[in-house]
């Protein structure tokens, strides 16, 4: 007689969105691991059809309240590719500046309030605040600075409204932006403190052999554009994304999972992958901290919090440089005319590579849309990690193992709301 047991975490805490975890044990051995994403499907790709193409950045921004800029950036770049538009260097820089704001607010929240409690033994950021008030206050201050940058450049912190196909609808006056410089200089110091703080945590020994995937740009730490690269040797333009990666459905998730098309294997996107593939392009202080606090090869997913903190430092350095030289660009948009075409783009969202593809009609409406968010891409890798992690944590008992599994999932900073995507309905006649 065999012993079949199930460990269930019905609702993962301290992750964005709603998901659960199910582990099936057979005679004490791990039989199945399922990251259950049960948020309802969002159907964004379908509702975009027929809409004016310049509505797309505003609509796709609603996919996520934490990383709306990422959706705006990937969508406008893809649409501009379809329209044959080229950005001016000045507008391109301002888009990077906006992205810095999002990286800062998203990473600061996850590091300080969602993830750090795992390493310090607290059930929540609130519980942690009693013993580590300075750290929590620092996290809130960093997040606020990211939000202020979004407000200045994007009109507001959540779902900014200034991003347009071709550039921006409007840009702030120079004095509004210059007023941020002094606070961002202080923020950079806080960010460096945060990086040292998280690097001092005790990390489980869990180095694995990953294929890490991220955009790589020859001249900069990739945010808005680059070539797709992986630690396994992949190097291709973003236009080949769908030839190199495929999404597939699993019964237990409303989010599609993804794998490498050539090998059928899972892969990892996000800060750890970006640092692995673009370490030498980090800004000076971020680079120095990365070398000191996250030496190569950084293949322990629990250390993703250090990579995230290094990226906050980078975002402050880059933002400061751009803020100091900010001048409103006029006109703020490159003019364009509707035309039939297809375009794709990928940018680096806080959680990893975010791919968009659009086919647009001659009348300026969207004929087809495709969105592949980073959490979808990481799902299969998370399940693979859990299979390797469970035998190590099961001896401590199932209750403890469930908590340890949650910790591993949180290391990915999954955004389940972004990933909830598609539901296949099977009709059965009786």
């Amino acid at each position: 007689m065999t012993d079949r047991r199930v460990i269930e975490v019905p609702a993962l805490t301290r992750v964005e969105g709603e998901g659960g975890l199910k582990v099936v044990l057979h005679d004490g051995q791990v039989d199945d691991v399922q990251l259950n994403i049960y948020e309802p499907p969002r159907l964004f790709e379908a509702l975009l059809r027929g809409r004016p193409l310049d509505d797309v950045p505003d609509i796709t921004a609603r996919i996520c309240g934490i990383c709306p800029v990422a959706y705006q950036m990937s969508s406008v770049h893809a649409l501009e590719a379809a329209l044959g538009l080229r950005m001016t260097p000045e507008l391109r820089s301002l888009r990077r500046l906006l992205y810095c704001g999002e990286w800062i607010e998203s990473h600061a929240l996850h590091i300080h309030l969602l993830h750090a409690p795992d390493f310090l033994g607290y059930e929540s950021g609130l519980a942690m605040a009693a013993d580590h008030p300075e750290a929590v206050a620092r996290g809130l201050a960093l997040r606020k600075l990211g939000n202020r940058l979004l407000e200045a450049l994007g009109g507001r912190a959540v779902h900014p409204v200034s991003v347009a196909v071709g550039g921006f609808y409007g840009l702030p006056r120079a004095d509004v932006v210059q007023a941020l410089v002094a606070d961002f200089a202080q923020g950079l110091e806080l960010a460096c403190d945060a990086a040292r703080w998280v690097a001092s945590f005790s990390f489980p020994d869990f180095d694995r052999s990953y294929e890490m995937v991220a955009l790589v740009h020859p001249d900069e730490y990739a945010m808005n554009e680059g070539e797709l690269r992986s630690t396994a040797g992949l190097a291709c333009p973003v236009t080949e994304f769908e030839q190199r990666f495929e999404e597939y459905q699993v019964p237990h998730s409303t989010a599609l999972q993804a794998r490498r098309r050539e090998t059928g294997t899972c892969y990892l996107v996000g800060p750890l992958a970006r640092v692995a593939l673009s370490r030498e392009r980090l800004a000076p202080r971020a680079r120095a901290l990365a070398d000191e606090l996250l030496p190569e090869p950084a293949t322990n997913v629990f250390r993703g919090i250090v990579a995230r903190a290094v990226e906050v430092v980078h975002a402050f350095e880059e933002a400061l440089e751009l803020l100091r030289h900010y001048r409103p660009v006029w006109p703020p948009r490159v003019p364009w005319q509707p035309r039939e075409g297809t375009g794709c783009a990928a940018t680096e969202a806080p959680r990893g590579t975010l791919y968009h593809r659009y086919r647009v009609s001659a009348d300026g409406t969207v004929a087809e849309a495709r969105i592949v968010p980073p959490t979808s891409q990481n799902q299969a890798q998370i399940e693979d990690d859990l299979r390797a992690w469970l035998p190590r944590v099961l001896p401590a008992g199932e209750q403890r193992a469930a908590l340890d599994c949650e910790r591993l999932v949180r290391s990915y900073d999954p955004c389940i709301s972004c990933a909830a995507h598609f539901l296949r309905v099977t009709w059965e006649s009786v």
């Binding site: 809409r51 509505d55 609603r62 206050a137 507001r156 779902h159 609808y169």
Partner: protein, 277 residues
């Protein structure tokens, strides 16, 4: 230095560095969004601010900061220097009580924190802390004023978002081109007609919200008019209650002994709120 004082000092050092920290004795925060009855907190804050703006000789206005917040965490950045915090927020009943009744939409009540109503009061989401969690966090960090009042306004659960036909769902078609409307708002008030825009924006309230904020950020003078229009989306019970609610909140603000430079006055002395028509 006692532990709690040290904690407050160190936390304020980080949080207080944010621009816009209030230096007034009282901080009034309307919490919510421009969507349906969730806008009631913003409406009250806007009405109080407008009333004080029209009475420039009132000494009290120097001691009051009025803000509108979308997420509770914002509060923690604004409390520096404030001795009192007053929050106005919509709340949704959790369920019918033992008697099978629920508070009627439009009724309201004030709680002295840490007491809070049993309701969905700006609940915690995976993206942010709820009001109760935020206040608890602020207390732990030692950054809250000593006195906190929460005005909760009961709304019906279905009024958290606008109803079909007047909602913020982007699935309804046909819709105006959001991009053009946004551009119009950002380009300045002269070309921007909120009345016409509101008629055509039935399906894109979310963008209207964005425009209001963007208009503020870019100095568009029509932001206030736009917000007033948005207040008109309140359901009839909320609209009926708004005038009395604003008067009660102002009475609460003005009659506080802690009020700087002001002796408590009779309600008749208070400026009348400027409510959207």
């Amino acid at each position: 230095m006692p532990a709690h004082q040290h904690r407050a000092a160190s936390s304020q050092q980080s949080l207080g560095s944010a621009k816009g920290a209030a230096s007034a004795a009282t901080l009034l925060v309307g919490l919510g969004s421009p969507h349906a009855d969730d806008a009631v907190g913003w409406c009250v804050a806007g009405a109080v601010a407008a009333a004080l703006e029209r009475h420039t000789n009132l000494p009290q206005r120097r001691a009051l900061t009025v803000r509108q917040a979308r997420v509770p965490l914002e509060l923690l950045h604004w409390c520096g220097g404030a001795s009192r915090l007053v929050i106005v927020d919509a709340c949704v009943p959790l369920a019918t009580d033992a008697t099978g009744s629920q508070p009627l939409p439009g009724t309201y009540q004030a709680w002295r924190w840490p007491a809070l109503p049993a309701c969905r009061l700006r609940p915690a989401t995976s993206h942010d802390l709820g009001l109760a969690e935020t206040l608890a966090l602020g207390s732990t960090l030692g950054v809250l004023p000593e006195e906190i009042t929460v005005w909760g306004v009961w709304i019906a659960p279905e009024r958290v978002l606008p109803p079909p036909g007047g909602g913020n769902t982007v699935t309804q078609a046909p819709s105006p081109n959001m991009a053009r409307v946004t551009e119009a708002a950002l380009s300045g008030g002269a070309r921007f007609d909120p009345a016409a825009a509101t008629r055509s924006w039935a399906s894109v309230t979310a963008t209207i919200d964005g425009m209001a904020c963007a208009a503020t950020a870019t100095g568009c003078a029509d932001a206030d008019r736009l917000r007033a229009k948005l207040a008109c989306q309140l359901s009839p019970p909320l609209r009926a209650a708004l005038s009395a609610l604003v008067a009660d909140v102002m009475r609460d603000l003005f009659e506080q002994a802690a009020w700087v430079g002001h002796s408590p006055g009779a309600p008749a002395d208070l400026p009348s709120p400027d409510l959207p028509s």
